[in-house]
């Protein structure tokens, strides 16, 4: 029972945050000077038909939202409007149908662009994060086990240095170096390479090398630092002494008693870090022209393509909120204590 209540509370909390993001997204892009819909109507790149389509779709002649007065049932002043006829409602309805407007660039639906690019970002983030976590955990474990030795100090200094590197700059430096080695300098695959099957995958892998390397270096440092301090704390716990007194070997203790306990904060961190991960993806994709959501952000900014920017922002924010929720639920499965707090 307690367990279900916990899950329900967490899911409810996640949904609440999603609502907040939806509302924030609406007002962010309408109240601030850059209002995408209005700007879109005036945008000279759009045909009159497209402008008219935008006007009706977003209900630009309607109020943003009912004013407070209209909430009073006894009065129907001039600002009373059918709540279903406001911009806010249309925005929600459009969202519900998966319609996010049209990109200025080529009048493609934003939802379609995002759909094409989401997979690429997930591929890039997945490869880099998995490598970063594996290497970070391994290095952090080594550093904690050999605490206060030269290995530990070297790992600490290198991690602090790596943490201080701006992701996009590290990407550029690696790009400079990688291109001299003959690695592809950007994109997802070599244009015009019509190869099928194996050669296609090799080509994709070659394109993945530099962006993944960049991401791994940046995040490995942080995971290493967290793993190190978390493991040091666990290793000072009495139950580790119990395990040693039981006659267990060092590796057995690390595997069965220390690593799982120490990895718990890491799960939370990976989740909390999703915002940073997304930030890293934006920079890496911009540098390596990787056609994902990050590059979409970059393009939307440089081309003042507000509908696209709004769509990317919404998708990234929802993705991070959702992944956070997933991590919290995962955490509660890993740590029996959390459920009963």
């Amino acid at each position: 029972m307690q367990r279900y209540a916990f899950f329900l509370r967490k899911v409810g909390w996640g949904l609440g945050t999603v609502c907040f993001v939806l509302v924030l997204n609406f007002f962010l892009f309408r109240v601030l000077p850059g209002d995408p819909a209005r700007a879109g109507v005036r945008d000279p790149r759009l045909s009159p038909q497209a402008q008219e389509a935008i006007r009706t779709r977003f209900g630009l002649d309607r109020p943003l939202i009912n004013c407070l007065e209209s909430l009073n049932p006894l009065r129907s002043g001039p600002c009373f409007t059918n709540p279903l006829d406001t911009q806010f409602f249309r925005y929600l309805a459009n969202l519900f149908r998966g319609e996010l407007g049209f990109s200025y660039q080529n009048s493609q639906p934003v939802a379609q662009i995002l759909g094409e690019r989401l997979g690429n970002t997930v591929l890039l983030l997945g490869a880099g994060q998995v490598l970063a976590i594996l290497l970070g955990v391994a290095l952090g474990t080594a550093a904690a086990w050999k605490a206060d030795t030269r290995i530990d100090h070297a790992a600490l200094v290198l991690s602090l240095l790596a943490w201080s590197l701006p992701t996009f700059w590290l990407g550029m430096v690696l790009l400079f170096w990688g291109s001299s080695l003959g690695l592809p300098i950007g994109g997802l695959r070599t244009p015009g390479l019509g190869a099928e099957g194996w050669a296609r995958w090799v080509d994709l892998a070659r394109h993945l090398v530099l962006p993944t390397l960049t991401q791994t270096l940046v995040f490995m440092a942080e995971y290493m630092l967290i793993m190190r301090s978390s493991l040091l704390e666990v290793l000072a716990q009495p139950y580790i002494l119990t395990a040693r007194a039981k006659g267990l070997g060092t590796f057995q203790i690390l595997r069965d008693h220390a690593l799982r306990n120490a990895a718990l904060p890491l799960v939370t961190l990976v989740a909390l870090n999703l915002g940073l991960t997304v930030a890293g993806a934006i920079q890496i994709e911009a540098v390596f022209s990787w056609p994902g959501l990050g590059l979409a952000t970059f393009e939307a900014v440089t081309r003042r393509d507000y509908p696209l920017l709004q769509g990317v922002f919404l998708l990234l924010a929802l993705g991070v909120v959702g992944a956070n929720l997933a991590a919290e639920l995962l955490y509660s499965c890993l740590d029996p204590r959390v459920r009963e707090e």
């Binding site: 119990t242 306990n261 999703l274 934006i282 952000t297």
Partner: protein, 616 residues
Amino acid sequence: MEGLSWRSLRHEGLALAGLCLLASALAVALLAPWLAPHAPGVPAGGVYAPPGAAHWLGTDDGGGDVLSNLLYGAQVSLLVGFTAAFISVIIGAGVGLVAGYTGGRTENALMRLTDVALVLPDLPLIIALVALTRPRLLNIILVIGLVGWAGTARLVRAQTLAVKQRALVLRARALGAGRARILLRHILPLIFPLIVVNAVLVVSLAILNESTLSFLGLADPRVVSWGQMLNLAFTRGAMSAGAWWSLVAPGLGIVWVVLGCTLLGQGLEQLLGPRRQGHHLALTPPAPGPVLPPEPDAPLLRVRDLRIEFGGPPVARVVDGVGFDLRHGEALGLVGESGCGKSTLLLSLLRLLPAGGRIAAGRVEFGGRDLARMGEAELNQVRWKGISLVFQGAMNALNPVRPVGDQVEEALRRHLPELDAAGRRRRAGELFELVGLASSRRGEYPHQYSGGMRQRAVIALALACQPRILCADEPTTALDAVVQAQILELLDQLRRELGLGVILVSHDLGAVAQLCDRVLVMYGGTLVEEAGAPALFERPRHPYTQALLQSLPDLSQPGRPLAAIPGAPPRPGALPPGCCFAPRCGVALVRCHTETPRLRALQQGAAACHLLEGER
């Protein structure tokens, strides 16, 4: 606090290095108009001219002098970094302080808001806001500042909650000081160091965010910034022109400042943070000296002249010259104040000393072998199977994320390989029943047990592999009297039924009197008295033992005043000369302060005291 004083800063290399990096960057930013050979952002030479005498760091895509732009760029980076971080920290600290101090509904609302802000991805939000409000320096500062407060708020709130309960703050509240006054005068000073450390981190994040924003094309076009230099170089062909200098220089500028913040923050955190304890994976090395042949007709356990040292130089001698025998089925009590080396002595038997500890001399003879000089792998066979331990504070002696029964079965799997899975389960169930726990609760986690149950589980765990000796360190502290009696009863029963040798370390002299046959009294790492339990409690010989017993209530002598021993036991490493109890002893002679007494046999037992010389 005192941790932030200049002296300790000087000793902390990381913090100092970081401070130097930041100070030099600040100097460069302030002196840029005088240092820079050219005005920022204007053509001064050819396009992408390589570094040379005219342009030390070459020129950029518009023929601008990279060195000049780099120097002026420091201004923007530091200005945005520090002002934005200032906004973030002020908001975050304010929210955290108010939430932590007021509690209730205000706290709930503020922390929910903080949670939402923490979950929203920073950079996309900053990009959207700056893109919509036009990239101007002021907008960039405000946006970065307003977005980055949540982390600080959470940290400050947690710290405020902790500080709120301190005596100083409670006193101010009791005296009726106003809320604002308490917050600003009493709480803020206490958490200020933490806020400073956090602020350093926030500055580095703000600088990274600013440079990323500029790199993505959202730089204020009216000033030169490092991110913008990189953006222009990257988008205008520096890569293909091979103009590495226009890519490397601004990047190193950012690394310079951010690394300064990171090092300073890390250094300060180490200065202010609690000192880390050593970890339990450190192996205690074998004792020096040759392995001697076992003594004939040795008892179950024989400890000879054991000396345990820590650290050095100077070396702290925690246990010195301790020796005793333990026979089959015998219960030995080990008493003395905290810090007398009792727990260390127990841990040293199995070479489980904390990091930095070592057995400097002496022998631990068990089963014909010297445990102090055994190889680690062999010792792992003796651990738990030969000698097992019940640790002080059973709260944390069990792994919180594994079921209790699982941890018992783990010991069985390690030492009784002949048992299969079903056999292990059955045996674990028996052990649970033996200590009075329902075997159906094997699958539960330690936090689901009460304190008494956990203590019983720890004893079940210690008995799992049928050890020949059980060492129990304060097994009944923190338990109520009924449970205490039950557990002592259980130990006594096991000792009689299984012939188990028991060593009981306890502050509870009543428990020792109830369970033990013989008692060792330790003080300052040495044995001061040893006697059979009845004799010791009836006629203590050493002044320390006498004082120890005087400090206990006695139901047979109601009305006798309790006498606490004045002073505190000596710290290992700072032992007084002569008898180490002499400074606190009511009957010490001049000689006691200069000459160390040896343990001398008396008619019953033995004691180390000059006053007992000549007595029997």
